[in-house]
């Protein structure tokens, strides 16, 4: 479990750094994908390794932990990420058509 | 699927009378040879990988030769006649040798790292698909519940290598080819998956092995292509889509030599070029083998007594010195694998035939074919295949036309409903009797 959590932490860190440092809009989106994947890894790991970290006193089905719900959450994350990417790409293309660049720093005309 | 029979209940028609413990390579290495568990596994994995890798390498060589000869026949030529005798047997090998000797070029405009790396993606994805294909009841490297889904997923990786390779070549031809290819392959994945689901509905499982087992018995009507009219239509639809998915003519706009030189691999030369070719021919085989497993009875010959005889070989176990090693079972496996490979090869030949017979479509026609025709057709087929057993149940009282004496579990739908209502004629009892 620790290993998977560390992998997910690395993915999250890289994703955040990528979001913060990249200037290309598509690059930023790749950072977002990394962050979402970090979440998926956590979910599936939580689903596999069963009992939660909190000692559950109710010794019923609750004690099993997230179970398959974790896998399903990961499925939803994947699909939502795909939906988001579709819109994101459309917006980046629209921006590129208007501004001739996909540089996020070029998006600085709106200011007050 | 309303409900499917649990895997444990699926009465396999070919289950041998007494279960024969087959010895895995890893097991033999650790028990017989005395290797450490991990190393036994590693060695076994290496051996299996070696076998699959060879299959991956050898099959394209054969198909290239077939294609050359067959296209020559179609065009009233002779084709290769020199290397390796009268029929040019070794022409593909000679081609390969020639390619390896050529200079390895990386264009200046290309991103060297990606240019070199991306060509492995299609090859790896097809090779991974090989590990998921069952060549017979027992021979499958990775037996997964969602085997078909996994294969489709793995095959969908191919497009990444194509588009990246095209993009990073730094050439307009490659770029255009890559974009066309990406658009085409991503679009055609939809009808591919939908049509592949039609037999899955009839068989009630996503596991290719279970689907194969399901089709035991006489060719008609046990092969899923005959299961219902929607399946038959789905087979044609699937095959069309599969041709497009392999980037073969008449859907090979991405590598249309008359307008794009060679499309996404224009800049590739030498061995790198041949990797793309290997991947293409191997993926032709993979989609054909999926078609065989899904529609054309998998590894069964379609002649029930012959199949029964081949299955009977499992019990033939002369002593060859290795404990637990059944020669007969091994032989049966090889023969079954041969059958499935033969069927798939025939389908590959049909692909070759199509390529050299039909004119190429325009790119907009390719996309229109997929999105305006094939996808709606696939949706209708899927719906029809779902409703078919219900309709039959309402009219004939059983979920298949020829139904109840053949298949172990006629249909997931049928199974569930029969389970509920025992008044219905229930032929499940003599499941698989035809074979034994």
């Amino acid at each position: 479990m620790t290993g998977y959590l560390i992998v997910s932490a690395v993915l999250l860190t890289c994703g955040v750094v990528c979001m913060a440092s990249k200037r290309n809009a598509v690059g930023v989106l790749m950072g977002v994908e990394l962050v979402l994947n970090a979440a998926s890894v956590n979910f599936v790991a939580a689903a596999e390794f069963g009992p939660p970290a909190v000692p559950v006193q109710v010794a019923t089905a609750d004690a099993i932990g997230v179970g398959l719900d974790g896998q399903i959450a990961a499925l939803f994350v994947i699909v939502l990420a795909a939906a988001e990417a579709a819109v994101a790409l459309a917006i980046v293309l629209a921006f590129f058509n208007q501004h001739g660049t996909a540089d996020v720093d070029a998006a600085s005309e709106l200011r007050g | 699927m309303l409900a499917a029979p649990p895997a444990a209940d699926l009465a396999l028609p070919v289950e041998p009378a007494e279960a024969v413990e087959s010895v895995t390579l890893a097991g033999w290495l650790s028990d017989g040879v005395g290797l450490d568990g991990f190393w036994a596994l590693a060695v076994a994995a290496a051996v299996h990988a070696f076998v699959l890798l060879n299959l991956f390498g050898v099959l394209p060589a054969v198909f290239i030769w077939v294609e050359r000869k067959w296209s020559a026949r179609l065009q009233d030529r002779l084709g290769p006649t020199r290397v390796g005798g009268r029929f040019g047997w070794l022409q593909a090998l000679a081609d390969g040798l020639k390619l390896i000797q050529k200079e390895d070029l990386v264009p200046d405009a290309a991103d060297g790292l990606l240019f070199r790396a991306s060509l492995y993606v299609p090859a790896i994805s097809v090779l991974m698909a090989f590990t998921l294909l069952p060549f017979n009841d027992r021979w499958v490297a990775v037996a997964s519940d969602c085997g078909l889904f996994l294969i489709l997923a793995v095959l969908s990786l191919e497009v990444v290598g194509v588009v990246l390779g095209g993009y990073t070549s730094g050439s307009k031809w490659s770029l255009l080819g890559g974009m066309r290819e990406a658009a085409q392959m991503v679009s055609y994945e939809i009808p591919l998956a939908l049509t592949a689901l039609v037999p899955v509905i009839a068989a009630g499982s996503l596991s290719l092995r279970e689907i194969g087992v399901f089709q035991a018995g006489w060719m008609f009507p046990n092969w899923l292509v005959f299961a219902n009219p929607f399946c038959a239509a789905a087979f044609l639809c699937y095959f069309t889509v599969a041709i497009a998915e392999c980037k073969r003519a008449p859907f090979d706009l991405a590598e249309a030599e008359s307008e794009l030189v060679a499309g996404y691999f224009t800049e590739y030369a030498s061995f790198r070029w041949s990797m793309f070719m290997l991947a293409e021919y191997a993926s032709m085989f993979v989609v054909s083998l999926i078609a065989t497993l899904l529609f054309l009875g998998g590894w069964w010959t379609g002649i029930a007594p012959l199949d029964a005889a081949l299955t009977g070989l499992n019990d033939w176990r002369p002593d060859v010195g290795v404990e637990g090693f059944g020669v007969g079972g091994y032989l049966a496996n090889v023969l079954f694998a041969g059958v499935v490979c033969l069927k798939a090869s025939l389908l590959v030949t049909v692909q070759v035939w199509v390529r050299w017979s039909l004119p190429r479509l325009r790119i907009d026609q390719v996309m229109a074919t997929c999105l305006k025709y094939l996808t709606p057709i696939a949706c209708v087929l899927l719906l029809g295949a779902t409703l078919w057993p219900l309709g039959l149940l309402a009219t004939l009282g059983r979920p298949t036309v020829f139904g109840s004496t053949f298949s172990a579990s006629p249909s997931p739908l049928g199974g569930a409903i029969v389970e509920q209502d025992s008044a219905l004629p229930n032929g499940d009892g003599e499941a698989g009797e035809a074979l034994r």
Binding site: V7, V41, V44 | E189
Partner: protein, 207 residues
């Protein structure tokens, strides 16, 4: 060391390496390739975690769909293959520090959390089973999507339906934005070049 451990090591290294590549590369195309490596390795981790369904979805939707979409975006918006983004030295240094800090904090949390979770990985000693045998997660997941609860536990019928609506809406929106403007009366300030127009048109159709 078991086979699963070895495979975990390989996949984890690939995933982390790919992620680092995404963060470190300055060429967008290389970032995309690193992303492919990273996401595929994550799919491998899912297989190790007995989630073949999730792994396959990751491959088919994420790697085969989303990333291809992103690469499309790169191809349509990037000026050239080798073009690198310029990032200032100060930014690089500050980013490095932030990254190290964040990674340390999260790693610390991860180690603690991993220690606290009692369940041991369900590993088979024989090794053969690790890749080959996966428990049947397909049917339970399917039933959960169809079910509302009852005996199969929490059902996810509602999210399943909501996400269908979501996808529908999003595709309409994306198609609208990516579609070239057909109307005569509205002239965009910088008319897009012909190639771009056809490209985005194709994309809209695809969506």
């Amino acid at each position: 060391m078991t086979g699963a451990d070895a495979l975990f090591g390989v996949f984890a290294a690939l995933a982390c390496g790919g992620a680092l590549g995404v963060a470190a590369f300055r060429s967008v195309a290389r970032m995309a390739f690193s992303l492919v490596v990273c996401l595929s390795a994550v799919a491998g981790l899912f297989f190790l975690l007995n989630a073949p369904m999730v792994g396959a979805t990751q491959l088919i939707v994420y790697v085969g769909g989303t990333v291809v979409l992103l690469i499309f975006g790169v191809m349509l918006t990037d000026a050239g293959v080798g073009r690198r983004m310029k990032i200032g030295l100060l930014e690089t240094i500050s980013m490095t520090f932030i990254a190290i800090g964040l990674a340390a904090a999260l790693g610390w949390t991860a180690v603690g959390l991993g220690r606290a979770i009692p369940g041991a990985p369900v590993l088979d000693e024989e090794g053969v089973e690790i890749v080959a045998a996966t428990p049947d997660t397909l049917r339970p997941i399917g039933l959960k999507f169809l079910g509302l609860g009852g005996e199969s536990g929490v059902g996810f019928l509602l999210p399943f339906e909501i996400i269908s609506v979501h996808l529908l809406v999003v595709l309409i929106g994306a198609a609208y934005l990516a579609r070239a403007k057909r109307r005569v009366d509205a002239t965009p300030e910088t008319p897009p070049e012909a190639t771009r127009e056809t490209a985005s048109d194709g994309l809209g159709e695809q969506a």
